[in-house]
């Protein structure tokens, strides 16, 4: 079955090259259909790989260069269920986005299709590979396709700013990763993840390993939009076309989180042990990210920028899941990635449809205009509720598992903070939905930052493909919490993910894994505690939305006092998001210096 492994990468890439070659020969619809077929094929193959990987990691050595004497000479793809599942998610979102853009994209569609397919192949390769430098190559390919797609609408100035900020910060992060890879190679003479883990095992973490850890993690955390490296995400999302935003929020950011998990467990888990210092720093950063994202989400009126900050919130929660260094929490993060990817993708599709039908993406400008398009309002509301953590809906399963892991590690204090973050960002989405689709709330609000408008597409687009794609995305995302057997399967997969010795034995010495019994098809029952958290989150979200809508009806005294207390920090936070790339690079420097300094002192 190892012949399946190159296919999710080779098919999209080959099709992209073919599309560019035949650009002027074939009509647009034929090429659109070919692109859609290629993405669907990649999704199908990734799902097959995931199912096979549950029995044991699937391994493929490129060029036939198998390891000799326990030393890896070639590059391998080592698919485990979580990695293959992530590849399937990425390819699936690309398929939905291409279906959506069948009618949404109106110009330069062929180049768009080609770049989307390249993006698809790169993400699949990134999730499946077992070689650190190969990871870097797919990371850069993802980046290049993404920068071009972000700047797609060249007629406006906003996309240029978004694409420039995106390209420069992520490239700087990539160079940091490369320096880290160089350091690791110098120490171990290896680039294969399993072999790096084997060579570093047994030796304590010295200065080189600690700095390599810092640099590699920071580079991937830039991609994962974690504070203080998150500034580029909102700029890029506000201006990229909606189907592209689906991929950015749904899969690309999650790739950074996956890389942190994969590299930690295969390479660094032995020299660092289960270092509490790594755990506490990652958890702290995750919590801060979630809270900052939630606050900024509330302050937005540009719908896509609001969704971007909501992604940052959830990326923070995912980082907490990974950073707890616990298999249960890791399974929770994996489930979060799945449900968040589909729901957020669906929400972005709703945004794009709103732009086409109602000609704006500004919440205040659209006040009440959404009453004309009720189906999109239903989808938006369903998606917003799905992101809050209500039991049995959307991100509930992931959140519950992360909470379990936090309690197991004695860090239960993160649970209320994460609940607040998800509730506030969900509340912001509910507020926007109520204002746009129901016409509730004030027509003006000085608290929200005005942004430049987005040019709607010139011609009216057919709504059917957009509606189908968006509905599928949101329904899948919401239903994931009640998929039978998903929880147990992800937990088993996570336990295999964190087992470094088994991974090394399988990759380098071809050891056969033990056969596991078929996991039961159960659905996680919500405990009283999770009901409490879920309903509290829903209540808080509703409260936040109500506050946003009817703030002006509160007594004057209360508002003045609250304004005096809260305005300075809010203004500081808002001005920090300056849109200037020099500021972002400065934060990258400060963040790396602080993380490196903290770990230099605590991990020695």
């Amino acid at each position: 079955m190892s012949w399946l492994l190159p296919l999710p990468v080779a098919i999209p890439l080959l099709t992209a090259a073919a599309i560019v070659a035949t650009e002027s020969l074939l009509p647009r619809r034929v090429l659109d259909a070919v692109a859609l077929a290629a993405a669907a094929a990649a999704t199908a193959f990734s799902l097959l790989i995931m199912l096979h990987a549950e029995a044991g990691d699937v391994l493929h050595w490129f060029g036939g260069w198998r390891p000799s004497g326990g030393v890896a000479i070639g590059i391998d793809f080592a698919a485990d269920p979580l990695g293959a599942g992530l590849a399937a998610l990425a390819c699936g979102l690309v398929t939905l986005a291409l279906l959506y853009s069948w009618s949404y994209m109106q110009e330069a569609a062929r180049l768009f299709d080609a770049l989307m397919l390249v993006f698809c192949g790169a993400m699949a390769g990134f999730a499946l590979t077992g070689d650190l430098f190969n990871m870097f190559v797919w990371f850069e390919l993802m980046g290049v396709a993404a920068y071009a797609l972000a700047g797609f609408k060249v007629e406006e100035l906003g996309p240029l700013q978004g694409a420039v900020n995106f390209a420069i910060t992520n490239t700087a992060g990539a160079y940091l990763i490369l320096i880290g890879i160089g350091l690791l190679y110098a120490r171990t003479g290896a680039l294969n993840l399993a072999q790096l883990g084997r060579m570093l095992a047994g030796h304590p973490a010295d200065r080189l390993v600690i700095v390599a850890l810092t640099l590699v993690f920071v580079g991937f955390l830039v991609k994962a939009a974690i504070v203080p490296f998150h500034w580029w995400l909102a700029d890029a999302h506000a201006v990229a076309p909606a189907p592209v935003c689906v991929l950015f929020s749904g899969a690309m950011v999650e790739m950074g989180i996956y890389a942190v998990a994969r590299i930690y467990w295969t390479v660094f888990s032995s020299p660092l042990g289960h270092a509490g210092e790594v755990r506490s720093l990652l958890v702290w950063i995750g919590v801060v990210t979630a809270l900052v994202g939630a606050l900024m989400c509330f302050l937005q009126r540009h719908l896509k920028r609001m969704l971007a900050f909501s992604t940052i919130t959830h990326a923070g929660v995912m980082l907490v899941g990974v950073g707890l260094l616990d298999p249960k929490a890791l399974a929770g993060a994996a489930n979060l990635v799945l449900s968040h990817g589909f729901v957020k993708g669906g929400l972005f599709m709703v945004c794009g449809a709103v732009l086409v039908r109602l000609r704006a993406v500004d919440e205040l400008r659209l006040h009440g205009a959404g009453r004309a398009v009720p189906w999109w309002g239903v989808l938006w509301a369903a998606g917003a509720v799905g992101l809050i953590g209500v039991p049995y809906v959307g991100v509930f399963l992931g959140h519950a598992l992360v909470d379990d892991g936090a309690t197991a590690r004695g860090i239960a204090w993160v649970q209320p903070l994460l609940m607040i973050a998800e509730a506030v960002s969900g509340g912001a989405l509910l507020r926007a939905g109520a204002r746009v689709f129901l016409g509730w709330g004030a027509k003006d609000d000085s608290l929200l930052t005005p942004e430049p408008p987005e040019e709607p597409p010139e011609r009216d687009a057919a709504v059917a493909p957009m509606a189908v794609a968006a509905t599928i995305a949101i329904v899948i995302g919401l239903a994931l919490s009640v998929t039978p057997g998903l929880e147990v399967r992800t937990e088993h997969a996570a336990e295999r993910f964190v087992d470094r010795t088994a991974y090394v034995a399988h990759v380098l010495r071809d050891a056969k894994p033990a056969r596991e019994p078929r996991p039961p098809f159960t659905v996680r029952a919500a405990t009283t505690e999770s009901w409490a958290y879920g309903l509290a989150a829903l209540a808080l979200a509703a409260l936040t939305a109500a506050f946003g809508l009817w703030r002006h009806r509160l007594p004057e005294l209360f508002r003045a006092a609250a304004g005096r207390a809260l305005r300075p920090p809010v203004e500081v936070l808002r001005s920090a998001h300056s849109g200037i790339v020099g500021d972002y690079l400065l934060w990258l420097t400060i963040g790396t210096a602080v993380i490196g300094g903290v770990w230099a002192f605590t991990l020695r």
């Binding site: 100035l157 420039v164 390209a167 420069i168 320096i179 849109g579």
Partner: protein
């Protein structure tokens, strides 16, 4: 002397970052990124150097003679191609910015903020 090459690489990286942070001009920014790239090349190639090692080319050279590490050279080659392409993309964005906004000062291009 033992660590001079690595020190040079580190220094160039810091200089590149400083230039990028205070840059007034997108093209200058792209070139500062090029400087940071160069530091990674120097680091990679110095890592692979072996004393008294020749080039890893074995035409007319007996197999088994000490040669420097070919893997870092292939990594550097890949790195060069990647970096060149990304810089080309950033320069294209700079061109577009000049056409649309009349300026290539990154501080002036901050349409979306807050």
């Amino acid at each position: 002397m033992n660590f001079l090459a690595y020190g040079v690489a580190g220094w160039i990286c810091l200089v590149g970052f400083y230039g990028a942070i205070v840059s007034k001009n997108l093209i200058h920014l792209a070139l500062c990124l090029t400087v940071i790239q160069s530091s990674t090349y120097i680091l990679l190639l110095s890592i692979g150097y072996e004393k008294h090692g020749g080039a890893p080319i074995f035409k007319g050279v007996k197999l088994g003679t000490t040669a420097v590490d070919p893997v870092v050279q292939s990594l550097t080659l890949t790195d060069i191609v990647i970096s060149v392409t990304v810089i080309a993309l950033i320069l294209a964005l700079a061109l577009d910015a000049h056409k649309k906004a009349g300026t290539i000062d990154p501080d002036q291009l901050a349409d979306f903020h807050g």
